[in-house]
């Protein structure tokens, strides 16, 4: 290992060089084809949903917000079309996150970094910003030439730069603007924003998201994926030999040479690859890598190199998909003259699908069967029990009633406790003996102080369970909770 090295034989490249590698700016070239079309459509869908969803209305009746998707922080409510969630139902988000994570794993084991290449906000906005850049400053070569040029800036070039950044900032601003609309009634907030009447926090958040969008999509771009994002590292641990990834099919032969030379060599019966070394795949790559070097951390698998290569293959009359979604197994099989096999159904994809189905199923089931009337009981801790002057024992409870429905409810409370015990709610006169009735307004909670008294001759010797039943007088819906009755 520790071989003696003559310092004079060292070349500059042998010195590791600085740990900091300066970024090489990427100038992706425009390309057309299947994957580009898929990316455009997904971009339209993703951005369309993000920008316009807050304006979709949903009728929930008078007094309730009419916005389809709304995160109502002051009132601690989350609205999603027909679903209304309370803070204590935050576990639905846990379920959603589990489904999202496993869906990501599933995507990865089927088709590699589908999320990175097509759906990730970083990809979508960067792609949009590149489109603007291309529209204003021209395609790859023009942009490279303009950036390299050492001529003094002319008015035309300055106006180009100003225009590009203006459009970028406009998009970024709209991105931040759409974000805050999810937290308040969108049309009202838009009006307030325009007339500068909106709360300060709205402007602050718009400012923050405008800045992050502008910086991440306009300047940092592929560096976010390469250096900041943990997913490339994680996904490498989740993939297997059957997962399809954007792959250069090296079984289509080496060596890489020009069309003309390849034809000559083929005529001589020599081995030549289909790749003509045109570097189109490198030119269109948004992360500036060469896919022919094999799977790389930087590759977000957007498929644009497939489009670029297909276009060239069509022109030179060679079969398409020299670059395509594939794996090493099939490359080796083809090299051995066998037919490729694609195995989508395998242990890990089945397990991932099963987890998604199970968690999704549980969420749908609990959502469909969740009660809109609920009761929580908390036993007084200090004192746990009180002896009254006639020797009877009383326990006090804090009862919280939750009415999640869109209408007021009249409810009665019963307690199955010690024999002959009585129930009283502070501030409520019982209409029927020992059955206090309370009105809970719609979409709200009521906290009551409830007293259960066991007569002197019936004092339970130790702690016994008490079951509280809450009955909707009109609808008969019952919710219940259990606590204990204790003696001093």
């Amino acid at each position: 290992m520790n071989k003696a090295v003559n310092p004079n034989e060292l070349k500059p490249a042998d010195d590791g060089g600085p740990l900091y590698a300066a970024r090489k700016k990427v100038y992706p070239q425009s390309v057309s084809g299947t994957f580009r079309r898929i990316k455009w459509s997904l971009m339209a869908v993703c951005l369309g949903v993000y920008y316009f969803l807050p304006f979709v209305r949903w009728n929930r009746g008078l007094g309730a917000p009419s916005q389809a998707v709304l995160i109502d922080l002051p009132n601690s409510r989350f609205y999603f079309f027909f679903i209304e969630l309370w803070p204590q139902e935050v576990y639905y988000f846990t379920g959603l996150l589990i489904v999202a994570a496993v869906a990501l794993f599933l995507m990865n084991s089927v088709g590699g970094r589908i999320w990175c290449g097509y759906l990730c906000p970083q990809t979508v906005w960067t792609d949009l910003f590149y489109a603007v850049e291309r529209l204003v400053e021209g395609d790859r070569r023009e942009r490279m030439k303009k950036d390299k040029s050492s001529d003094p800036l002319k008015l035309e070039r300055i106006s180009e730069i100003v225009l590009k950044h203006s459009i970028w900032i406009l998009i970024a601003w709209w991105t931040g603007g759409a974000w805050v609309l999810y937290f308040s009634d969108a049309p009202t907030l838009v009006k307030e924003l325009v007339t500068f009447q909106a709360p300060m926090i709205a402007y602050v958040w718009i400012g923050i998201l405008t800045a992050t969008t502008y910086l991440l999509a306009g300047f940092m771009r592929e560096q976010v994926c390469t250096y900041m994002c943990p997913w490339p590292r994680i996904q490498a641990a989740l993939t297997d030999e059957w997962a399809l990834n954007v792959t250069y099919r090296y079984d289509r032969g080496e060596k890489r040479t020009s069309v003309k030379k390849a034809a000559e060599l083929r005529a001589l019966g020599q081995q030549v690859g289909d790749c003509v070394d045109c570097y189109q795949c490198v030119a269109v790559c948004p992360t500036g890598i060469d896919i022919r070097n094999g799977p790389q951390l930087e590759c977000i698998q957007c498929g644009l190199c497939i489009d670029a290569c297909d276009n060239v293959m069509a022109k030179i009359g060679r079969p398409k998909r020299l670059i395509g979604y594939d794996n090493d197994i099939n490359i080796h099989r083809r090299q051995e003259g066998k037919a490729p096999i694609y195995r989508i159904v395998r242990a890990r994809t089945v397990v991932y699908s099963a987890i998604i189905a199970a968690v999704g199923g549980i969420m749908i089931y609990t959502l469909a069967t969740r009660s809109l009337l609920d009761v929580n009981v908390l036993h007084d801790r200090n004192p746990v029990a009180v002896k009254l002057s006639d020797g009877s024992i009383r326990n006090a409870y804090t009862v919280r009633l939750l009415n999640k429905s869109g209408y007021d409810r009249v409810i009665a409370i019963d307690a199955d406790g010690p024999v002959n015990s009585t129930v009283h709610v502070v501030g409520v006169d019982s209409v029927t003996p020992d059955r206090p009735m309370i009105v809970i307004p719609r979409d709200s909670t009521s906290e009551l102080r409830l007293l259960v008294t066991a007569p002197a001759d019936n004092n339970p010797e130790k702690s016994i369970p008490v079951r509280f039943h809450v009955t909707d007088i009109g609808l008969g819906v019952v919710a219940s909770a259990t606590d204990n009755f204790v003696s001093p």
Partner: protein, 291 residues
Amino acid sequence: MTDHSSDIDSVSGKSTTGHEWDGIKELNTPLPRWWVITFYLTIVWAIGYWIVYPAWPLISSNTTGVFGYSSRADVAVELANLEKIRGDKMVALGAASLVDIEKDPALLALARAKGKTVFGDNCAPCHGSGAAGAKGYPNLNDDDWLWGGTLDQIMQTIQFGARSGHAKTHEGQMLAFGKDGVLKGDEIVTVANYVRSLSGLSTRNGYDAAKGQKIFAENCAACHGDAGKGNLELGAPNLTDKIWLYGSDEASLIETISQGRAGVMPAWEGRLDPATIKAMAVYVHSLGGGK
């Protein structure tokens, strides 16, 4: 910065910092420019901070900064805002009658919340944080009241206290029958057993019930009533129930009769504003023992 571009390391072909130790030179590998710029920006920011915000300690104070910011002023503003938000509700609480407060769920919730906080700050040292009391300090959760358990009576006790020295305070105390020489030792033991018998507790062997009743009628009935049912006007407890402020065993009773009892409840009028006292009365009443 010095220009070191002239001093090139022959091995790596890179410039050095010019520093040399035993013939070994340090390569010039500068920090990334963005890092250096950020570092200088934080220095500029810090200087701005010194000027704008309070920063430098002086001998007895500190620089106030050009904005005149202080976190104390922030708290004062927050408290004023809180008072403003609560203002209307506390006014409503002050205006409503005690009975109406208990009937109105919103006012009841406010009174209970306010009452609980104020109770914790002012009453808990004696009565306990859950108002469960202790020996000599009444349990406010039960239905046994020395001075009455209606809303008005509770409020009156909170306002003026008991034996507090306030002009309107509750007066009346348990006399020290033994210490003052009114009753002799054996008489005290006898009457103590008689008192125990009133609420059905066991009595000592050989105790003379008739003598006990006689001593009770002559000395105790004036305040506690002929039947020992007590008297709210005098704060004389009911001796026939199950609740004993100073204990029901013979020794405790003998101590009570010999030494007397005169616990003090301070008057809160003037220390707490009327609306707060109302909230307290409702809170104590709602604990469950209120009449």
